[in-house]
């Protein structure tokens, strides 16, 4: 299976699992976000553009599956995927703690931005529920699941060899 097909398969399966199975789990007052974890895994391994496209596609799929306003989740996840990809390409490159940090920041940003976006489009949302009650348990569960999900993504998406990476500096002589 080529790279793009692997990304599509990961994101599609994660979105399907999230909407049908994971979202109905209530563990210690929170729900893990498997789709966000898979998206961050893909973005860290394949970069900002792949992350943004995968996030947009996954969000659109979730909007369709849940009959939500088309584009809302797509916008949130496209930005999350892009940010995780940029982080992976720059500061987080080669760092062991990068997935955990990306999940930590990604979960908080998605919650805050999602709350703001839903508020802006006129939906009645509870800040207490979205940002306090469910965020902390959800964040904890995401952090617990971050390592196995990232390992799975790493297994399915072969990391680029050194020669495949963009050569930024060429030594002469």
């Amino acid at each position: 299976m080529n790279d793009a097909a692997s990304i599509v398969a990961i994101v599609f399966l994660a979105a399907l699992l999230q909407a049908t199975v994971v979202a109905s789990l209530d563990l210690l007052g929170g729900t893990p976000d498997l789709l966000l974890l898979a998206l961050i895994g893909v973005a860290l391994l394949r970069g900002a553009v792949a992350g943004a496209v995968a996030g947009f596609g996954a969000g659109l799929l979730l909007d369709v599956l849940t009959l939500d306003t088309l584009g809302v989740t797509a916008l949130i996840l496209a930005l999350a995927g892009y940010w995780a990809g940029r982080y992976g390409e720059t500061t987080g490159r080669g760092r062991a703690h990068a997935p955990l940090l990306a999940v930590l920041v990604g979960t908080v940003l998605v919650a805050v931005f999602g709350y703001g976006l839903h508020f802006l489009i006129g939906e009645e949302v509870s800040a207490r529920r979205a940002l306090f009650e469910t965020l902390l348990p959800g964040l904890g569960l995401n952090l617990i699941l971050a390592a196995p999900v990232f390992a799975l993504c790493r297994k399915l998406l072969r990391p680029f060899e050194l020669s495949e990476r963009t050569v930024e500096v060429q030594l002469l002589g």
Binding site: A23, A52, V53, T66, G71, A78, I121
Partner: protein, 277 residues
């Protein structure tokens, strides 16, 4: 690339809002949801045994305390049933004498479409569920959705074979209800924490007590009527509070429905609709 995706997403949001429910984008979304429905149903069926196993294991931890509570409740309810049967008989007799005309009540005037829950949104912003039944199954927009434990919510988005249900715990939900014991009316909305609900606009002179049952009021005024039929259980009172400066009491309610683990629900369909089909 990111700029293009952001613009595309914003365009989709704008069109979704501006076009009518039967516009091309909504039609495309409904068609895509229908195409994906077999996958979501299959996934839900595969997950069901695991979910049941998790529920069974979790229930083991408080099974003993639950059994004791239920035994005590059963004894109390047995006495109540005898009183209720006697009261019901009197009510039937009195209604006959008065040739009393009643509004639609639950469950007499409704049939139902029982179905599983196939999807939920992946965020805490909306309290909704998606069901694999739609207008082809007789479901109507605004149809009430219940479980054996009480009211769940109402259908807020409908396609031919899928419906989206906004739960009672969502910020946008509200239902007119009464205290079954005192007939004190009020409006039930989402509460401050978790799945709790608040019944507001309850007059101070109405004496609502802890453990009172709150049911839908099913009012009717000329051509206007409540979306919910009468007598569906909403929850039980857990606390009653009032400040001296407030005009009304604030009644906190705990629903019997466990909104976090809804697996199967029933969509109520008025009997007239079934007769028409």
């Amino acid at each position: 690339m990111l700029g293009f995706l952001v613009v595309l997403a914003l365009a989709l949001i704008t069109i979704s809002f501006r076009e009518s429910e039967d516009g091309p984008l909504h039609d495309a979304q409904a068609a895509a949801a229908s195409a994906l429905q077999p996958l979501t149903v299959a996934m839900e069926r595969v997950a069901q045994p695991f979910r049941d196993a998790y529920g069974w294991t979790a229930a083991l931890f408080d099974a003993r305390a639950e059994a004791e509570r239920l035994r005590a409740e059963k004894e109390q309810l047995q006495q109540q049933v005898i009183q209720n049967e006697s009261a019901l008989q009197s009510l039937v007799d009195l209604k006959k004498l008065l040739t009393y005309v009643d509004g639609p009540t639950f469950p007499e005037d409704y049939t139902y479409v029982a179905t599983s829950v196939t999807a939920r949104p992946a965020n805490a912003f909306e309290q909704v569920i998606v069901l694999p039944v739609g207008s082809d199954n007789g479901v109507e927009l605004d149809a009430p959705v219940v479980t054996g434990d009480g009211l769940v919510g109402r259908v807020t988005h409908l396609t031919a074979d899928t419906s989206r249900v906004t739960l009672l715990t969502d910020e946008s939900s509200a239902v007119s209800a009464v205290d079954l014991r005192t007939k004190a009316p009020g409006i039930v909305k989402h509460g401050q924490t978790g799945d709790s609900l608040i019944m507001s606009r309850v007059r101070k002179e109405d004496v609502v007590k802890v453990r009172d049952e709150i049911v839908t009021s099913g009012w009717r005024s000329g051509p206007l009527a409540s979306l919910y039929p009468k007598n569906i259980l909403v929850g039980r009172v857990t606390s009653v509070g009032q400040a001296q400066t407030d005009l009304y009491q604030r009644v906190q309610i705990k629903p019997d429905v466990d909104f976090s683990s809804l697996d199967a629900v029933a969509v109520l369909v008025p009997r007239r609709t079934v007769a028409r089909r």
